[in-house]
Amino acid sequence: MTVMRTRQAVIQALSDELESDPSVFLMGEDIGSGGPFKATEGLIEKFGEDRVIDTPISEMAFLGAGVGAAAMGMRPVVEMMFIEFIGVALDQLTTQGAFYRYLSRGAYQVPLTIRAAAGAGLGFGCQHSQILDQWFRGNAGISLVIPSTPQSMYGLLRSAIRSNDPVVILEHKALYGERGEVVTGEAGIIPIGQARVVTEGKDLTIVTVGSTVHTATAAMELQSEWSADIIDLQTLIPWDKTTVIKSVAKTGRLVIVEESSYSGGWGTEISSEVVSQLWGKLKTPPHRITSPDAPIPYAQELEKRYLPNPEYVESQISELLKTGKCPAPWWEGIKS
C-alpha cells in the first residue's frame, strides 16, 4: 500500500496498464508535458512517443481515431483535457463507437477509454467546470465512472482500460490533489458497476458519487442525531442497483447528493428505480440534493453556494427526518 495523490493514481494506473498490455496507448492534447493537472506526468519519458501520443487540438480527429484503433484491437486511452472539449467530437463516441458492437453483431468491439478532467469548485467558469455525465446517458454501449479517491481512481481506470466497450472516466479536478492509500496491482482493481459502502448507519441511505461522497461524509460528521449508509456509486452507468436497493430496504429512506443541476440529474433514475422496487416500504419520499438549474458561476462565494456543501446537506437531511417531507432547496424563493 502506498500513499499517493489522486493525480498520481492516474499516472500509476496508466503506467501499469501500459506495462502489462502492449495494445494500450495514450492519446491527447499536451499529455506528453503532463497537462494542466499533471495527470500524465513522466509517461512519455517512460514509454516513448509511440505510446504516449501528443495530438493537435483536434478532438473529433483523435477521439474518432481512438474508436477506429480500438475496433482494430488496440486499447487507446484518449484524454479530453476538460470534459467540455468532447462537445465538438461527441458523434464519434455516442453515435459511432457506442454502436459498433451492436451494428457489427459483435464482429467489432471498441475497448476505448476516455479520460477527462471534470467538475466544479476551482473557479474555472461555466465552460470548464461541468460534470456532464448527462451527455453519456441514453447511449447504450457506454459505461461511465467517476472516482472519488486515489484508490478508486486507480482501480476504476485500470478496469476501464481492460473493458471491451467504451468507458468514460470523469476525473474530478478538485480531487486530483487529494491524498490517500492505494493498493496497486491486481488487488487494487475495482470492477465497473460496483458501488462502495463508505459508512454504515441506520436512519437513511445517502447515494453519492465523485465529489459528493466527501460532501455527504462531512455532512454526517457535523451532527450526531442520525447515521447513514453512505454509498459511493463509483460507476454511474451502469449503476449498482443491488447495493442501493439492499441499503434502502434496510433504512427506509433515500437521499441522493448530486453535484450537477437539479433537472435531468442522475439521481432521478436512482430515485425512480428505488420507488418502483420499494413502493410502500419507504418512510419518507426520496430526496435529491443538487445544484440549481443555472450555469456554474465564477465568483468564489457564488460557486461555493452553488454546489451542495456539507452544512446544507446536513440541514436538508435533518429537516427531512424531522418533518417527513422533502425540504425546499436553498434557491427556492430567491428572486430571479
Binding site: S33, A61, P295, A299, Q300, L302, S336
Partner: protein, 328 residues
C-alpha cells in the same frame, strides 16, 4: 467612469493606440500578483507580446461591428474599449466586472463595443461569427464580423467548416489567426504540417494575407483592407498575424518547452517598442514623454486594482438571473 465607447474613440490617434498598448501590458502584468494574493481563481491566459493585433483590430472596426475571440481575450477586451476595472473586475469575480463576475477571465464581454462573450472552447467562436455575418448580410446592415483565434484553432473541424461556408455564402467576415507559434503547450511544427497558416484559405478560394503581428500599423492596414472588402459585399478574408506569446499557455504552464533564446529574439521585436520607436523617430513623441506615459499608465492600472479590490462580489440573486427569459 469613461464609457467603453469613449475609450474606443481614443484609438483614433497614434498616441492613443500606444497608450492602449501600454495599458494592456500593465494590466496583463498585474494579474500574476492578483493571483498570488488570492483574488484570481481557475486559470488565466495572458496575451503579453500579442497586444498589437488586438489594438489594430479595435482601431479599424466600427463599434457596431462584432468581434468573437478566445479565452486569451484580456487584450482584445481592453483594446475594444472595456476598462481595466471591467477586465480586472471580471478576473477577480467582482460585480463591476464586464460580465458581472459570473464569467471570469475566459468570459469577457461588452455589447456596447461589439464584444460577444469570449469563448473558452478552442474554435468555438468561428461558427458563431459566421452567424453574425450571416445576420448582417440578411439585414443588409453594413456590419462586419471579425473573429480572432489562435494557430491551434486551425486544426479544429469548426475552422474548416466555417471557412468553407463563409466563402460559399460570401459572408462579411474577417478571420484573424494570431499565430503565436504555440497551441497550448505544443509548438506549431509538432501539430501542423505547414508554417504559413494563411495558405489554408486556398482550399476555400478565400482572400488571404500574412502580416507582421508585432506592428500595429501593418496589422491595421491588413485588417482595414479585409474589412472594406467584406463591407463591400465581396466576402471573407483570412489574415494570419505572425506574433508571439511571452507567457505560457495558462497560469499553470511555465513554458519550459521553448527553444532557449527564442523568447529573447521575439522581445527584440516587442510590439510596444516598435510602436513607440516609430513615434519617437517621427518626432511625435519624446523619450521623456514616453516615460511619463508609462508611469501614468501604471498608476492608472494601480488605481483600477484598488477600485476592483474595494468592490463587492455578485449577489446571490444574480446566480439565478438571466438563465432563461422566463423560468418555470
Amino acid at each position: 467612469m469613461t464609457t467603453s465607447l469613449k475609450r474606443r474613440e481614443k484609438l483614433n490617434t497614434e498616441i492613443g493606440r500606444l497608450e492602449r498598448l501600454l495599458e494592456i501590458r500593465a494590466v496583463e502584468e498585474s494579474i500574476q500578483t492578483l493571483y498570488n494574493d488570492g483574488h484570481v481563481r481557475g486559470s488565466t491566459h495572458l496575451a503579453i507580446g500579442q497586444e498589437a493585433v488586438s489594438v489594430a483590430i479595435a482601431s479599424v472596426l466600427r463599434p457596431t461591428d462584432i468581434v468573437t475571440c478566445t479565452y486569451r481575450g484580456h487584450a482584445t477586451a481592453l483594446a475594444l474599449g472595456v476598462s481595466p476595472e471591467g477586465v480586472l473586475g471580471e478576473i477577480c469575480g467582482r460585480v463591476i466586472g464586464c460580465s458581472g463576475g459570473m464569467g471570469g477571465s475566459m468570459h469577457l464581454m461588452d455589447a456596447s463595443v461589439g464584444l460577444m462573450p469570449t469563448f473558452a472552447i478552442v474554435g468555438a467562436g468561428l461558427p458563431v461569427a459566421a452567424g453574425v455575418a450571416l445576420a448582417a448580410k440578411i439585414k443588409k446592415n453594413d456590419s462586419v464580423a471579425l473573429t480572432i483565434f489562435g494557430d491551434g484553432s486551425t486544426n479544429i473541424g469548426a475552422f474548416h467548416e466555417t471557412l468553407n461556408m463563409a466563402s460559399i455564402l460570401k459572408l462579411p467576415i474577417v478571420f484573424v489567426i494570431e499565430n503565436n507559434l504555440y497551441g497550448e503547450y505544443t509548438r506549431i511544427n509538432l501539430s501542423t504540417p505547414i508554417s504559413d497558416l494563411a495558405d489554408r484559405a486556398d482550399s476555400y478560394a478565400m482572400r488571404k494575407e500574412i502580416v507582421d503581428g508585432q506592428d500595429v500599423d501593418a496589422v491595421m492596414k491588413s485588417v482595414s483592407a479585409a474589412v472594406d472588402y467584406a463591407r463591400a459585399g465581396n466576402g471573407p478574408s483570412l489574415i494570419e498575424a505572425k506574433t508571439y506569446r511571452y507567457s505560457g499557455h495558462s497560469r499553470s504552464d511555465p513554458a519550459t518547452y521553448r527553444t532557449p533564446g527564442e523568447l529573447d529574439e521575439w522581445k527584440k521585436r516587442d510590439p510596444l517598442d516598435i510602436a513607440a520607436e516609430k513615434l519617437i523617430s517621427q518626432g511625435v513623441l519624446t523619450a521623456s514623454e514616453l516615460q511619463q506615459m508609462k508611469s501614468d499608465t501604471s498608476s492608472r492600472v494601480t488605481q483600477a486594482i484598488e477600485v476592483v479590490l474595494a468592490s463587492e462580489g455578485p449577489s446571490l440573486e444574480s446566480l439565478m438571473q438571466h438563465v432563461s427569459e422566463k423560468r418555470n
